[in-house]
């Protein structure tokens, strides 16, 4: 146990977790924006937009995140030589954020679409009756209600995203799960303590999110 305290001084556990939180925060914003656009695509009157949205969701949702992450680094950086920053650390961080964003956007899209399903037909008919065309009707009438109805699946997506930031280890980003591996590798005697530290760290991040999601979905649900 003594050795364990020294270990915490030696390795920057908080810094690694901070990396996960940063990845999560940026990718959450990114996937929310992209997911909303995709959801609009999927409910739009233009057939090809719908096809693009459907294809995106079906392809991305069915691909393991690990492959997306590895392909991003190997193919887009390694082969297509797309470079965002000359510093490797910053560059791979960006790749991890993009992979996380692309992957979770498909779930955000489906969450919002499920929210759209909860909006009663009459709302949309009323919107059309007062002369709103597709985009204004979507912006003013449908999406606000749909988002409130989609709190639970959106919250679940955010929780999944938080845990999936660990996959950034595949893009050589210095985050908590990779740090755990290194720590255990060099201190196998303390592996249970090290694991519990990282695991409880994730519990502290994720469980409040679940509680907040339940609370918000109760509070914000549209009374019908």
């Amino acid at each position: 146990m003594n050795g364990f305290i020294e270990l915490l001084a030696e390795y920057d556990v908080l810094g690694a977790f901070w990396m996960n939180v940063t990845l999560m925060a940026i990718a959450a914003v990114g996937s929310f924006v992209l997911g909303t656009i995709l959801a609009l695509f999927r409910i739009s009157p233009v057939e090809s937009f719908r096809a693009i949205g459907t294809a995106y969701v079906n392809i991305v949702r069915n691909t393991p995140l690990t492959i997306i992450m590895v392909l991003g680094v190997l193919a887009v950086w390694g082969q297509l030589q797309v470079e965002f920053f000359s510093s490797f650390a910053l560059n791979f961080f960006t790749y991890a954020v993009i992979a996380l964003t692309l992957y979770h956007a498909s779930f955000v899209c489906e969450a919002i679409r499920s929210g759209v399903n909860t909006v009663p037909l009459g709302q949309v008919e009323a919107a059309r009756a007062i002369g709103l065309s597709f985009l204004p009707a979507a912006r003013i009438i449908v999406l606000p209600q749909a988002l409130r109805g989609a709190i639970t699946p959106l919250g679940n997506t955010l929780i999944a995203l938080t845990k999936n930031t660990t996959v950034a280890a595949a893009a050589s980003v210095a985050e908590a799960s990779g740090l755990m591996s290194t720590m255990i590798e060099f201190n196998p005697d303390l592996m249970v303590y090290i694991f519990l530290t990282i695991a409880i760290g994730f519990c502290l991040l994720v469980i409040p999110m679940g509680i907040l999601t339940t609370w918000l979905s109760d509070k914000l649900s549209v009374a019908r």
């Binding site: 009157p45 079906n58 489906e110 969450a111 009707a137 694991f195």
Partner: protein, 297 residues
């Protein structure tokens, strides 16, 4: 899909049709431009050379890499679905037990495994199995990664299934439990004979989509050197310097399998809802998402 989209806009008139045509053309042009840029870049890097692709698709690649890899991907996921079901059933029951201590303890277990990322679990299990368990001779050290993947997937997905069972039972009408009590059943009999079977039927589609989740997560085994599809594809690419191509093939295999599974789940959800259609609320939409969304609540 079309019905649901139809609620948002009127049937287009001549002007709207022109606008839609224009938008369609723009979208087409956009897709073509993106595709062209990607292909040109790939070509410039020599990634479109026929040899790069034939080496990733020939008989050797399938017989020695993709199929053995796919075998272990499917095998580890298949076993994990099974063991996760058992874990989920046991803890689902325990979370509904009449004793507060049992309920509390099993809740802690379930919440813990739901909150810890699967990858963190797998990393730990891998070290634990190879350093602590393998020396005792219980498992071969070469299999540490394999068991770490299966156990990691079991613990996480089992916890998710336990939660699904609990919420499924909770969402049943109260009358079911009361009727069982009126027949003289004990509370565990009522759970076992009346409530859980009903919850399970409703859960079947969610279980199938959980299989998709497990299949995808099995690719995390890549990071602990488990020889599954992704790992074999990387190894193939290592030998022939065409990693990009082999990874694309691996991704396509995953997409096809998962897409089929998702379709079957959707179809099953429709089947089950039509079978119990009278009892539950009339289904307006049976898309996967709404089914899952209801399951979560």
């Amino acid at each position: 899909m079309s019905a649901e989209a139809g609620i948002l806009f009127d049937a287009p008139g001549p002007r709207a049709r022109r606008k839609i045509l224009l938008a369609n053309l723009l979208a087409l042009a956009g897709v073509l431009v993106v595709a062209a840029v990607v292909l040109l870049q790939l070509n410039r890097q020599g990634q479109l050379a026929p040899q790069q692709w034939t080496n990733a698709l020939n008989a050797n690649a399938w017989a020695n890499y993709y199929l053995p890899g796919l075998k272990f991907t499917l095998q580890s996921s298949g076993i994990a679905v099974f063991t996760a079901m058992i874990f989920g059933l046991v803890f689902g029951f325990l979370r509904l037990a009449p004793f507060a201590i049992v309920r509390g303890a099993s809740s802690v277990v379930v919440e813990f495994f739901r909150a810890v990322p699967v990858l963190v679990m797998m990393f730990f299990l891998y070290f634990f199995l190879s350093r602590q368990v393998a020396p005792t001779g219980l498992i071969a050290s070469a299999d540490s990664a394999y068991f770490a993947v299966i156990i990691g997937l079991t613990l996480y997905n089992g916890a998710v299934i336990a939660e699904l069972i609990r919420s499924g039972v909770r969402s049943l009408p109260r009358g079911q439990r009361e009727a069982a009590a009126a027949l003289g059943m004990t509370s565990s009999q009522s759970l076992r004979i009346v409530e859980v079977p009903q919850a399970l039927t409703a859960m079947l589609p969610s279980l199938l989509s959980q299989f998709v989740v497990i299949l995808k997560d099995s690719a995390l085994g890549f990071l602990i050197a488990f020889y599954e599809l992704l790992q074999y594809s990387r190894q193939l690419g290592a030998g022939y310097s065409n990693i990009l191509q082999t990874l694309v093939v691996a991704a396509l295999i995953f997409i096809v399998i998962n897409y089929v599974l998702t379709r079957v789940a959707t179809w099953l959800a429709g089947m089950l809802s039509s079978r119990t259609g009278g009892a539950t609320a009339p289904a307006t939409s049976t898309t996967m998402v709404s089914a899952a969304g209801q399951g979560m609540r």
